[in-house]
Subunit: 93 residues, 2 copies
């Protein structure tokens, strides 16, 4: 069962194609009953942005992060706008 | 506008708390008009699973990956079931 209550198939809203590439990453960590596991989403978020930068040249201002936390679920949304010349391997001259 | 057509707030289905911790990661890469950027979601997925393993001890069979691709959007869903004794820093004896 998806923590986000949606399936991969039904997700894409019909929107006009944008000029820029966009990357969106959603993370949800659900803690089980009695779990005292630490909340590592913020550390994971930093690692993921670092991983994205291996593939595209983005600056910190291209990345927008939102967090949400209830008692048993922490969730995080990372939105990245990718300048068109940013893709690292596509534009090998 | 969320590539998944949902906002972070409205996402958590009301389900009974599970026994195990769960981590779900959704990635969507929308290519802009005329973009010929390569599809790096699979490489990014490998990097993300590696990053998750810094925080929790998981085996390959704890990770379920699903991919979906239309002409301008590639999306990826990573579901991780985390065995209760797996959290690395929480259980320091």
């Amino acid at each position: 069962m998806s923590l986000f209550g949606i399936s991969l198939k039904s997700r894409r809203p019909k929107t006009a194609q944008t000029a820029k590439d966009r990357l969106q990453i959603l993370l949800a960590h659900e803690r089980g009953r009695g779990s005292d596991s630490p909340d590592y989403l913020q550390d994971l978020q930093r690692d993921i942005v670092q991983a994205v930068r291996k593939y595209v040249d983005i600056g910190l201002d291209d990345v927008d992060v939102r967090m949400d936390r209830s008692n048993d679920i922490s969730s995080l949304e990372i939105n990245v706008e990718i300048p068109s010349a940013a893709a690292k391997s596509a534009k090998k001259s």
